[in-house]
């Protein structure tokens, strides 16, 4: 996946001279995850720039660059390192188009490696998507497959609006035989697995977990559908609700905390739109409502296959069948 992301940036930079990659360590080192490897060499340090270590400064400078017609792609290195940039993100990046009645769009991509499962120490494993989702003016996107990593990042760079591009860092090393495909617009969910009994609504690092759970569920006689949202903002109500109406049951799965988390929004939307099709309440399987745990305990926090299957079991199958 890391190579697909890198290929997306390289292709975008080759096609469009206004695309600039910037951040701490993105140049000579190629990023701590090597996602920007080779870009500085190929396009020069003016196009792929090692900046001072200051996230607000990085994103703030990107705002000014976007004002002058560039398309900055900013790396935040780790999820929790993005927090110093929140004021720039919330007060300026997200609002500039609106403040100026469309005169100053902000075609900025903010790449945030996010989530846990790689044994990172504190401040290296947060899932911050709920903060971004709650901010009007931002698109929030997260790929789960190698193909989507390429396609969605190309779409994000091409977007005239700011995109928070969440990279599930534990999928960086996932592999696939793939070739750069047509770029799909941001905002479309996809059904990763067809099923009839219940819908698992998920995204990013939890997609492989849900696919594995769906395979395991077959042994129990449960035929699960898996919807990969890909885009949290805009939210694809259509694909999600069509699936839930087919299956009549839904579980939202993500590793971000549950209280006030993305699942709360998704469950509410599904309930509002599909209430009469539901055989059971929409359930959530989320990380616990705790600060991200130390690496030796993270497996207890992250929603795994068993926890997903437990939730599916609570969908009162007897009552509905």
């Amino acid at each position: 996946m890391a190579q697909a992301l890198q290929r997306a940036m390289r292709d975008a930079m080759a096609e469009d001279p206004t695309v600039h990659v910037m951040g701490e360590d993105v140049g000579t080192l190629g990023g701590v995850f090597r996602v920007t490897d080779g870009l500085a060499k190929e396009f020069g340090e003016d196009r792929c720039t090692d900046t001072p270590l200051a996230e607000a400064g990085i994103l703030g400078a990107a705002v000014g660059m976007a004002m002058y017609g560039l398309r900055p792609v900013v790396e935040m290195q780790f999820d929790a390192f993005a927090y110093p940039a929140f004021e720039q993100l919330l007060s300026h990046v997200a609002k500039m188009r609106n403040r100026t009645r469309g005169a100053m769009p902000m075609p900025i991509v903010i790449r945030v490696p996010y989530g846990g499962g790689i044994g990172g120490v504190e401040h290296h494993s947060d899932s911050s998507e709920a903060y971004y989702m709650a901010t009007p003016g931002l698109h929030v996107v997260t790929p789960a497959t190698v193909e989507d990593a390429y396609g969605l990042l190309r779409a994000a760079i091409a977007s005239d609006d700011p995109v928070v591009f969440l990279e599930p860092k534990r999928l960086y090393w996932s592999k696939s035989d793939w070739s750069p495909a047509a770029v799909e617009p941001i905002g479309k969910a996809v059904v990763r697995r067809r099923g009839t009994g219940a819908t698992l609504i998920t995204y990013g690092p939890s997609v492989p977990v849900c696919l594995e759970a769906a395979e395991a569920a077959q042994a129990e006689g449960w035929d699960l559908e898996v919807v990969d949202l890909r885009s949290l903002v805009p939210f694809d109500d259509e694909t999600v609700c069509a699936s839930v109406r087919r299956t009549g049951r839904a579980v939202v799965v993500h590793e971000s905390t549950g209280f006030g988390g993305p699942g709360a929004e998704i469950a509410a939307r599904v309930t509002e739109r599909c209430f009469h099709h539901l055989e059971a309440p929409v359930l959530r399987v989320a990380g616990f409502d705790i600060p991200y745990p130390p690496p030796m305990l993270e497996r207890h926090h992250l929603p795994g296959v068993d926890r997903v299957l437990d939730a599916v079991a609570r969908l009162q199958w007897e009552a509905g069948s």
Binding site: D46, T51, P52, A54, A56, G57, L59, G60, A61, A62, V63, G64, M65, A66, M67, Y68, G69, L70, P72, P84, E87, Q88, S91, H92, K95, M96, R97, N98, R99, T100, R101, G102, A103, M104, P105, P136, G137, H139, S159, D160, D161, G187, V233, P234, F235, D237, E238
Partner: protein, 386 residues
């Protein structure tokens, strides 16, 4: 201390004997830049009342005078509009007109201004429509103008957050080969914000063509400078970033113009950023909603009134025979015409379209916003029927 010395004396080696395991010392430390030329002068630059004023262009002096008179009238008119409820709030620059106007006039047309919420006068001096400059404060929209048209970024309400934008824009312009300079304005309180630090650091590292102008008016709302910083001056902060710091009397319009013009020229020829601190004073309260008598003495205000930017310029021009009663009257009349027009236009109710609420959130509305827009449209239609 004694015991430490004793202990160290026990391991002392005979002179000249260097044990094989001793690591090679690192290269001798050298300062990266000689800090001396970066340091501000001990006194703020003053031109008015000194012999140096003879070198100033009389046409520029008269232009500054006319603009200051207009700026003062703008301040009093906008303050009056708050009392009539026509403006939600107005942060006056009464007393600071010289910093605002002389700085803006140091820019070329192709340059960019990055103002804070208090810098409406700088924007107007740059040619922005006085009513458009007040849109944010009237409350009909956040920014009343197309920033690209006048090369004025939106007035920034969060403190110092516009400074990194100025750096990024100036950097981008230089990458494109354009000799554009960005002037970024901030108050004394804003220099405590992290974005101030990050912007100056980025600008210096990138050698971006930016000029930072701190208008030190003594107070961040109520907090005096002594509680804001322990630095010798705000201009001294420049040294830590590796850029020159300059101190100027912010009420001396010609001194401000001179320092800013030099800093802009330096940036334009690739010399990098400059931090300018203009020492001035806010005669009015922070905004019309503030009671300045709670945190400052009347005597202090009166001292500064004697050093009023218009007063000291007018005295100079009169003494030099450049300004007479007719000249003063002409400037006052021009300002009055501007104020009358501003009053009239601000008294007209702005025409608002509630559907605009959804028009500029994204390039294309999301399905969620389309639904909400439909809801509002239905509500508006129902209101129309009622």
């Amino acid at each position: 201390m004694d015991s430490l010395q004793q202990r160290s004396s026990t391991v002392q080696e005979p002179p000249g004997a260097v044990p094989a395991h001793r690591p090679t010392p690192p290269p001798a430390w050298q300062p990266r830049t000689d800090p001396t030329p970066l340091l501000p002068d001990t006194e703020p630059l003053r031109v008015l009342g000194t012999d140096a004023v003879a070198d100033a262009d009389p046409a520029l002096l008269l232009r500054l005078y006319a603009e200051l008179i207009r700026g003062r009238r703008y301040n009093t008119q906008a303050t009056a509009l708050t009392k009539q409820g026509r403006l939600a709030v107005y942060p006056s620059t009464h007393g600071q007109e010289a910093c605002e106007i002389a700085a803006a006039l140091a820019l070329e047309e192709r340059d960019w201004l990055f103002p804070s919420y208090r810098d409406t006068l700088a924007a107007v001096a740059r040619g922005l429509d006085p009513v458009q400059a007040l849109t944010l404060l009237r409350g009909d929209w956040h920014t009343g103008y197309d920033p690209h048209e006048h090369r004025i970024a939106p007035l920034s309400t969060p403190l110092a957050t516009q400074l990194p934008h100025a750096v990024g824009l100036a950097h981008a312009a230089r990458l494109k080969g354009d000799d554009v300079v960005a002037l970024a304005m901030v108050g004394d309180g804003g220099t405590s914000e992290g974005d101030f630090h990050e912007a100056l650091n980025f600008a210096a590292v990138w050698q971006a063509p930016v000029v930072f102008l701190v208008q030190n008016n003594g107070f961040a709302i109520s907090v005096p400078l002594a509680k804001q910083t322990a630095a010798p001056s705000l201009a001294h902060k420049a040294v830590g970033y590796g850029m020159p710091g300059r101190l100027v009397d912010g009420n001396d319009a010609i001194a401000v113009h001179q320092v800013l013009t030099e800093a802009v020229a330096r940036a334009r020829r690739g010399g990098g950023p400059t931090l300018v601190e203009a020492i001035t004073y806010r005669i009015d309260a922070h905004t019309n909603a503030d009671d300045a008598t709670r945190y400052r003495a009347a005597g202090e205000v009166e001292t500064w009134r004697a050093h009023d930017p218009i007063l000291i310029l007018e005295r100079e021009l009169t003494e030099r025979g450049l300004l007479d009663e007719d000249g003063r009257r002409a400037a006052a009349e021009a300002a009055e015409t501007m104020a009358a027009e501003l009053r009239e236009r601000m008294n007209a109710e702005p025409v608002l379209n509630p559907m605009d609420l959804f028009s500029h959130v994204y390039a294309e509305q999301t399905s969620q916003l389309r639904e909400q827009a439909a809801q509002l449209r239905a509500e508006l239609e129902a209101e129309g029927e009622a």
